[in-house]
């Protein structure tokens, strides 16, 4: 199958796609388990989400509608290049609307709008092994997973509480999948961790550099590690989104002028725009920055 551009559909050759699909199926069968795969080179440097792109290339079909987000936004360089890449090599439709997308490739965020059963969320993962920081040997971390030896990970949380008085880890916050495998959720904020649990959409994770694929099938329990006396908590803000007034989304701090004035706005630009379209307003609705943010 090839397009007018001269590339195979979605760039990857069919044999590589089949190999990656086999890894994905194995991942789905063993939730949270890291499946090694023979990674292929993609025409983007590592760190640009080549792991996520290989997964996307292997599951995308002509009827799919692709959304790509980076830090919650659709308009960053990384998101735009990946979206263009698939528009060009697969000729698929792209969208910025979470509700319309069938495939969402992401870095750093899970959309605020709850995902549905007909959607697939594909994460770009830099470091797939949650135990790496405490155990550099791959042979040993594989054994630790096989035998569910996860006490060492709790040590990391212990050190947080000892040093800061609370669990200070706020991104890349380790989870247990289906009560069996410990998993690195990729550098999403822990704010998004609860969304992973019992999600109706399929979640796929691709690490290009370390050549690992893992998955959380729909409606799978995902639990964040914690202590009985220091339970898991998500980030919260005193403020509401300055643009749409949301008091329940993940907020980014933006500097609004040279004097260092700042405000908080939704990191998920599609979600924020949707709310504005529905008539919600925030405290800064009349400032020029608010218009800028909602224009796209």
């Amino acid at each position: 199958m090839s397009t007018a551009t001269g590339y195979n559909f979605a760039y990857l050759d069919e044999q590589s796609k089949r190999m990656i699909r086999r890894a994905i199926l194995k991942g789905v069968a063993i939730p949270g388990y890291q499946v090694p795969f023979g990674g292929r080179e993609m025409p983007l440097p590592h760190g640009w989400g080549t792991g996520g792109m290989q997964v996307t290339a292997s599951v995308i079909g002509e009827a799919d509608k692709l959304k790509v987000i980076d830090q919650g936004a659709d308009d960053t360089t990384n998101a735009v290049s990946i979206r263009r890449f698939f528009a060009h090599t697969a000729g698929v439709e792209t969208t910025e609307q979470t509700a319309e997308a069938t495939l969402i490739q992401t870095r750093h965020r899970i959309p605020e709008r709850p995902l549905k059963a007909n959607q697939i969320l594909i994460y770009q993962v830099p470091i797939p092994e949650p135990l790496r920081f405490i155990e550099p040997r791959e042979s040993e971390t594989r054994k630790m997973h096989a035998l569910s030896e996860y006490g060492a990970m709790q040590v990391k949380l212990y050190e947080d509480v000892a040093r800061f008085g609370h669990i200070a880890t706020s991104y890349d916050y380790p989870v247990m999948v289906n009560n069996r495998y410990m998993m690195d959720p990729s550098p999403i904020p822990k704010f998004d961790n609860p969304k992973m649990s019992m999600m109706p959409a399929l979640q796929l994770f691709g690490a290009g550099f370390e050549k690992r694929i893992y998955a959380v099938p729909p409606f799978t329990r995902v639990e964040s590690l914690d202590f009985d006396d220091h339970p898991f908590e998500v980030q919260s803000w005193e403020e509401a989104c300055a643009i749409c007034g949301s008091d329940h989304s993940f907020l980014d701090e933006v500097i609004t002028d040279d004097n260092g004035s700042k405000m908080f706005v939704c990191s998920d630009t599609d979600y924020c725009g949707d709310r504005v379209a529905q008539g919600f307003v925030g405290s800064a609705a009349d400032l020029p920055i608010a218009e800028m943010e909602t224009e796209q």
Partner: protein, 272 residues
């Protein structure tokens, strides 16, 4: 002459109790004379067995084979586990051996950095085994860590310091605390006082002796220092070129050695 057979015959006070560890015809050789062979003995609860012998005689090889870290060429090591009952260490699942190592057993290495996590705090080093066996209450982990620091005579104010900020003697005591926190039954030690200053050694030995008798620990300790053996061990096994040449109660072996090699060993120590 005392022989291996003596160790198979329990002394009176132990004869009604089942052995904790039974070793039968254990062999592990890297090359002829390099390793250990034909080792058989029973270790009873509360007993401290010393393994002595010159450098290269196979002490560490034997200790590794006994503590499930080095698969022997032949022979059996049977451990009477609280959790799993009687286990043939090299016939059972690796996962069970690893559970033993972090619960019922303790392993104290000669070099503290082999037994400690140098990049996390002293409290985390002690707490790790608790967390590994399922403890999830930070406050309780912290309290237990403080208790164990006190037990090994490290000021509790050092709980958040890393072992790299500790002296050699403190690192060794931390390693002991890290092992004892899960109340193991059996401790394996390889030259725990090696490389320490004499006065630091004495303090560590004193501490070990108190802990062992207070907690009723069973210990297998490797040392080439007969003074250490005299102070800690109830019984001795003397090794030479991978073989046990003499065994018996510590005082008997040291005061009235039967084998010419033991006589040499004892006299050379006395001459120093």
């Amino acid at each position: 002459m005392n022989t291996t057979a003596d160790l198979l015959t329990p002394t009176r006070e132990w004869q009604d109790i089942a052995p904790l560890l039974s070793v039968r015809e254990l062999n592990k050789f890297y090359a002829p004379g390099k390793g250990c062979g034909d080792i058989s003995f029973d270790l009873y609860p509360g007993e401290v067995l010393g393994i002595v012998g010159e450098s290269g005689s196979g002490k560490s090889t034997l200790l590794s084979a006994l503590s499930a870290r080095l698969t022997p060429d032949s022979g059996n090591v049977i451990y009477n586990s609280e959790q799993f009952g009687e286990m043939d260490l090299y016939a059972c699942e690796e996962s069970l051996r690893r559970v033993l190592m972090r619960s019922e057993w303790g392993i104290v290495h000669q070099h503290a950095r082999d037994g400690l996590r140098m990049n996390v705090s002293a409290g985390a080093n002690i707490g790790e085994r608790l967390m590994a066996v399922g403890e999830r209450h930070y406050g309780q982990i912290r309290t237990r860590a403080e208790e164990w620091l006190t037990a090994v005579e490290i000021d509790t104010s050092r709980i958040d310091d890393r072992p790299s900020q500790f002296s050699g003697g403190m690192q060794q005591r931390l390693q002991i605390a890290r092992n004892l926190v899960t109340h193991p039954k059996l401790i394996f030690m390889d030259e725990p006082t090696g490389g320490l200053d004499v006065s630091v050694q004495a303090k560590l030995l004193d501490l070990l002796r108190n802990l062992v008798s207070r907690l009723g620990l069973s210990v297998i300790i490797v040392t080439h220092d007969l003074a250490v053996a005299r102070l800690l061990a109830h019984r001795l096994m003397v090794m030479r070129r991978g073989e046990v040449v003499e065994t018996g109660l510590t005082d008997q072996v040291l005061d009235d050695p039967q084998h010419p090699y033991t006589q040499l060993l004892v006299s050379s120590i006395l001459q120093n």
